[in-house]
């Protein structure tokens, strides 16, 4: 059966929302702006009932089967408690882990068996492959609202703000867990993702050519090897500036906080100052639609972008 644009739009109009731990902590501005933009566009979010950790890096690095179970429980909750067909995770880590769990349950008998065993012990329905569709916030806005419809919603816009779109590593890798990507046409590219570029171009940004859009930010080593993370982030910031960007748009809380924190650390430890601002794409979209910076949590970002946004007449 062919999935038309209208089918997808209908399906994404109301989704189960999985914020994950980051959006309730360090990435609260991402949560605030995602909810605010969704509300502004008339897209409905219903939090996954009694959601749990996706297994992120801690559990995954100790026992991948347990991580698969944890992510599967989120999908099971969304399916069985929310009655949803689609779960939307704005965090790249959560999104990646749910997609990985979906793949593992479908392709690895051991993963399926573990999920069924622990789910039975925990007293809830086990998740089965294909019961729910996991999407990212980028898919949600691009397809659930629509690009042309979004264009009509822009008030003021981003006025040619020069933006480097940074997707980080988890949004497209490893490719086998994203079977819907890299199909050509309007599907997301696995090598040069563009959904964020597309949305922000509609919002009036001037996207710069940024060769490090999926490069490693060193997020996994922020604690164990901070200097390496600082160097990787500094290089991303310098490349964005060399490309002419005023702002780096992000869609991953790990990348976002890494860029913000190591920008400060680079100045302290390496005496390297960079001025490019780090802003969530949802915040930029909200601004373009005339929403206030406060409503989008921009004041709560570590990277202080409000003076620049005011100077450019965007905030």
């Amino acid at each position: 059966m062919t999935d038309t644009i209208d089918d997808r739009k209908q399906r994404y109009k109301k989704v189960a929302y999985y914020p994950g731990c980051a959006l309730e902590g360090s990435a609260q501005p991402y949560d605030i702006s995602t909810r605010a933009v969704g509300k502004h566009l008339g897209l409905q979010l219903e939090d996954v009932k009694d959601w749990n950790c996706c297994g992120a890096m801690e559990v995954k690095n100790i026992d991948p089967e347990i991580q698969t179970y944890l992510s599967s429980r989120v999908m099971s909750q969304a399916k069985n408690k929310n009655g949803a067909d689609v779960v939307m995770a704005p965090c790249n880590g959560c999104y990646h882990n749910l997609k990985k769990a979906e793949y593992d349950i479908a392709n690895k008998p051991k993963s399926k068996e573990t999920v069924e065993k622990i789910s039975a012990k925990a007293g809830h329905e086990a998740y089965h492959e294909g019961e729910i569709e996991t999407i990212h916030a980028l898919d949600w806005i691009k397809w659930g609202y629509g690009e042309e419809e979004l264009r009509a919603k822009i008030k003021g816009g981003l006025k040619g703000l020069k933006v480097a779109n940074y997707y980080g590593c988890m949004y497209t890798r490893p490719r086998h867990i994203f079977p819907e990507k890299g199909k050509g046409g309007d599907s997301e590219s696995l090598t040069k993702p563009h959904y964020m570029d597309d949305l922000l171009a509609i919002a009036g940004a001037e996207n710069v050519d940024f060769p490090l859009k999926t490069a490693c930010c060193g997020g996994a080593h922020s604690l164990s090897d901070s200097d390496m993370s600082t160097k990787l982030v500094l290089n991303i910031l310098e490349a964005a500036e060399a490309a002419g960007a005023e702002v780096i748009a992000t869609e991953c809380p790990t990348c976002h906080s890494g860029l913000e924190m190591h920008q400060i650390r680079a100045l302290k430890r390496l005496s390297k100052d960079t001025n490019v601002k780090v802003v969530y794409f949802t915040q930029l979209l909200g601004l373009a639609m005339g929403m206030s910076p406060r409503k989008l949590g921009i004041h709560a970002n570590v990277s202080k972008s409000i003076p620049l946004l005011k100077e450019r007449g965007i905030a």
Partner: protein
């Protein structure tokens, strides 16, 4: 002789470079190859002399990624280096290419940092895009690094 990762990083930091953009772009491709050679040698392999799409750099990346999916996190970085080299080549014919080679230098630096980081502390890139848990064993379906 292959320079060490530290020597390549030092060279990139030093500002020493060929004045001609195309010549410098060639130096950067060479630096990228040397970084990958370091990775392969550290894993007991013999760096290939083959090329892919006319770049030895891409063949070396392919060799280095065998058995280690997290290494694919720098696949696009290698492809960007190759792409920038081709751009510089086009632009140099018109006496341009300075800005492109400057960006290429930053892309190359990212490769140096990423692989240098992975060599220093196994695991970089393992949480994120191609997680391989501590308990899982290397993929035996492929010849590890071609050896």
């Amino acid at each position: 002789m292959t320079r060490s990762i530290a020597q390549i990083e030092e060279w990139l930091e030093s500002g020493e470079r060929a004045a001609d953009p195309l010549e410098h772009a060639g130096e950067l491709v060479k630096a990228g190859e040397e970084v990958l050679e370091n990775w392969i040698l550290a894993h007991g392999g013999t760096p290939t002399d083959e090329t892919r799409e006319n770049f030895r750099l891409l063949a070396l990346h392919r060799q280095g990624a065998k058995g280690d999916p997290s290494f694919n996190a720098c696949r696009e970085t290698c492809r960007e280096i190759a792409y920038h080299y081709n751009l510089v080549k086009l632009e140099a014919a018109d006496g341009r290419g300075q800005d492109t080679v400057a960006m290429m230098r930053l892309v190359t630096k990212h490769l140096v940092l990423f692989i240098g980081g992975k060599l220093r502390e196994a695991g970089l890139g393992d949480f994120c895009c191609s997680s391989r848990s501590l308990r899982s064993k290397p993929d035996r379906k492929v010849d590890y690094l071609g050896v």
